[in-house]
Symmetry: D2
Subunit: 351 residues, 4 copies
């Protein structure tokens, strides 16, 4: 941490900061420039750090500059070669293969989930996504099938050699979910629900942590840190669109976050072009862009009959659009040194 | 809801939308303009509404336009005269008096909380704020004193004729908080934690609901709706700053949200100039601006020794700065037809 | 400037930066912390500065931190007591009086501009605003009356003891404007039109410089710097709303920019609640908030018949709404140590 | 256009709007829903349209909804097959080939520009970029070589079979530029400099129009409209990053704007990953993403010695990094049905 003193800061003001730095157990290094003085803080981090931060409003201080990243376990330097997360059944996230999760926004019926599972599996998906407990902006919207939905997910996944990823909204749901689920998804709205993050840190289940709509990358990594601090290192990050002034699409998918996170952290990073755009016809170009930028995986909404979906139909692909998209990214992946799973058997033209 | 069809939409595409609207149980009204056709949806709201929304990606549809607000219980039309929320001890939010809550970010010790309670009470505050359970971006930061903090808060408030407002982070904390607390605060990061909102809807405790950093006003009102749908109508909204490209201050306090919310909803609206700016020297001008714009209350961080605060010291006022600010807003309130409580006895010049 | 080196930066990488700093004519000061090294740059600023900045992508560099503000002439330290700008006829911007400019978006006819000038003058305005050359987002919208509009503005202002402020869009318009205008307004879209700024710097006419929709405060001050570097120090800044994710109103009026600019610069700062909100019924609360936050002036759109205005009717006040607003801010100004001009003679209730 | 009336709007208020619509020369169609009334406006667009818009603040009106796009000449429907812009020497923008422009931020010397021109040409670039007149945020930064720079650009381009693209900042520069330049670039800060746009509309020179930092896509297309309205249809759009809350990189490159613009307009769209990220190591992944998303071209900063560049060195590629990137996108282009020019002769490994 550095204190950037105002040009007109008095010696008394500078000395006050130096004294407080020492009281907090750090050393102070002064750089006296022509226009202003900068005070560097050196020493063991963590002790009374909040007191140091409080000094940023002290007289004579222009601002403070944080030098160290506040995240540690998720930092690239902890594992420079990158993390690989083994989900079982040979599915490894963060390796050479780009892993694709696909399925409906919500589980609606046995028929629906089996239908979609069969089709996305054929096309090369490795995980089946589908919500059983749905976070909805309005209390008057469909809230999900609950545990019945979990059972159907598991059943459909097993039948089609897929793993299951689904959203957990509250610590109280973890227990019921564990037997059915391979990856616990934390939604964007819950990225800073610290009770939930801590509870997931106490499991050994892989977590797909979505970036909040207005979360910085540092905040995303700090949320990963909450999970990892509990001993669960199986964290997969997910860029799903940020909120900007541009409201033509639902969100602005921050593709650059992919290489940025690759630089800062060893954790794998997925992209969600479905929520990231909110429109079916923009999903494919953004999925291709994410792979080209280096994403480790994609999570995509697919529904057998999007016009009759109980939620997110507007952004769900038809199954054969999904199969087509898989072919496109299969062609792009080698350009960035990656692969995509082959289709399991010929995709039927069915729509 | 309206379907705005593309100029080049075919009759077949238009007919498909009309047919689907009828299948969903609504009437369709066509307006055929020179350049394009608009299809209005009329009828009972709510049934298969998500299916209608899914049609916005259908061929020939440019976009859909939502006409009705999705919030109902919180809408101004439900109570055109505005809500008044009686917190007890004669404190009514939403009336003529602008209510001020003040206190430290976190309860740190008996001495600290008693000291600050005495001083803010003298200056005219009606509620004592202070965190016992702290949501912190980093897992390595101070996380609060827990129930011991609640006890100290209650004790200090009672001694100084104040009510207590403190943050609840998880449904599991509600039970322990109820005996100590007059107003449950939902923090910005939890604004869309629906489990928490629903649990608060089942109590009869007043709730101070903070706007999320990137939440639209409609989303804030929908979160209020979650609480109210459970039967708890005692909801106080709070503008606390949004995230924008401008990072000179921690957040951009959206003062215009105050009159906007006044127009859309009957619920009272507070402003939090401490989190809304993140710097001590900007708190007073923004508190004045909020009152001038019509806020029903303020929530302000005050600490007896901000430089040694365990959190948020940078934005906490010294007690006599707070007393000075109270005098400033006492002069402004009449210009907007409001009042501020008198000082209880002369404020000591103490810093 | 400081170089924040990565934790894993090698000695070779650090030495490279030190060598380059010296080559560029500066001294390098190292602070070696536990986790990383910071290199401070000390010396005469300006020389080869861009080369230093280019090093921020060099191997081993995490990022660079700029310590000094890049603006100089506009910095508070140049004139700690604040600038007062004398516009003539006793109108001084930046003094005790809050100065109000009012009038229609565009001059439309002699009758219109005389009508509105008489009414805003009575209510206490000191400047008449009105566009003669209009920047319009669409080439198909009304583009203004040109020089005829300037003549009408001058005539109406003179008759009602007002000064004239109007927008200049291009250096080629300055010559024709000079005889008619007291304050040249630079619109938000032109805030970084450097040719225009430089040309205005060569005049001695006061300039009202509006903040761009996505300009940081530092960028606004750098644009002021372009004008001042030419020798024209009569610059009045103006906050007029920034673009954020929240699109309920046209813009988000950044009230906090007022105290922030007061801290960073000696230049006076106005607020434009008309463009800042885009809706008539939000103008008054935001005008009040701006005054309460310390604005030196306001610029407000007023039209005798907003429903028939050729532009911006949606946000224009009716003349008696304006008179009412003037009374409100007359009550607020003393609370912040300011005054507002008295009504010149009783305001007629006329709407 | 539609008027969305408030639920509580009176018949008188509704009738007023209907009457005003008719006065303005349009028909009014009412849709009376259960909760509210919507009034559709039908008829010839353009006449008194601003008066209609002014009604959005009238009593009883919730808001107005614009249905038609305000841009016409740039709309996809004008040329559903897409525009191809022939720049000469066989370079066609908007065809099967993805066109790459490359070169330094600013022309600094004959040696520099010849060196970089030779290298980017070999690697497959078709245009040479380089600034002669530089828009700089600070008046104290390097402002470009002026006409001498133009001559050097032309010379270096001709020698290496490249076309020239360079930025024009003011209408007064057009004349001097015409002989030297193949594509006139309008920078992000000038996207709404209407005098400049109009002046370019009167030439027949191709224009590369960059999106403003906070411009919506509709605004970008309206700026294109200013140029096209003058008769110059050779407009190439360019996404170069928008300003968001996330400041880790200089801008957020809005990759989704590429497919969105492809849907709305027939004009070709480039991406600028150099300004869009501001960091050398993020240029390649974002360039790949842009091609994968369907961009018609790229504009990339390349400098022979970025650490000694007079501007933008931090984001300039080394020549062999550029050659490597060209190879990467050469592998991606076929996956989206496109091609990239071959290297002209083997690229030397030179850095």
């Amino acid at each position: 941490m550095l204190f950037n003193m105002r040009g007109e800061a008095t010696d008394e003001e500078i000395n006050h900061i130096v004294a407080r730095i020492k009281e907090c157990g750090y050393e102070a290094h002064l750089i006296r420039g022509k226009e202003r003085t900068v005070i560097g803080v050196v020493g063991n981090s963590g002790r009374h750090r909040s007191e140091l931060e409080a000094l940023s409003s002290a007289p004579g201080v222009e601002d403070i500059v944080k030098i160290s990243h506040p995240f540690k376990l998720s930092a690239r330097s902890m594992r420079p070669e990158g993390s690989q997360i083994d989900l079982g059944r040979g599915v490894i996230v963060g390796g050479k293969e780009v892993i694709v999760a696909a399925g409906p926004c919500a589980v609606e019926s046995r028929e629906q989930i089996h239908d979609v599972a069969a089709r996305v599996s054929k096309a090369g998906a490795k995980l089946l996504r589908g919500g059983a407990f749905k976070p909805r902006t309005s209390p008057y919207s469909f809230q999900g099938m609950g545990e019945d939905g979990l059972k159907l997910l598991r059943e459909a996944a097993d039948k089609n050699d897929l793993l299951v990823v689904t959203e957990v909204m509250d610590p109280s749901q973890i227990e019921v979910m564990l037997p059915y689920v391979d990856v616990m998804q934390v939604g964007a709205r819950n990225m800073q629900n610290y009770h939930l993050l801590r509870a997931l840190g106490e499991t050994q289940k892989a977590v797909l942590l979505k970036r909040g709509m207005s979360a910085t990358i540092e905040e995303l990594l700090l949320s990963a840190e909450y999970i990892m601090a509990g001993g669960n290192y199986k964290v997969i990050l997910c860029e799903r669109g940020i909120r900007t002034f541009d409201t033509y699409l639902r969100n602005t998918l921050d593709i650059a976050a992919i290489p940025v996170i690759k630089g800062l952290s060893h954790l794998p990073i997925f992209a969600d072009p479905s929520h990231g755009t909110g429109r079916r016809d923009k999903v494919a170009p953004m999925a291709r862009a994410a792979v080209a930028a280096g994403a480790d995986g994609l999570i995509i909404e697919v529904h057998p009959d999007p016009e009759r979906a109980l939620s997110d139909g507007v952004q769900s692909l038809y199954p054969d659009q999904f199969a087509h998209l898989m072919n496109e990214i299969r062609a792009i992946a080698p350009a960035v040194g990656r692969t995509i799973a082959e289709t399991r058997f010929p995709v039927e033209a069915s729509r």
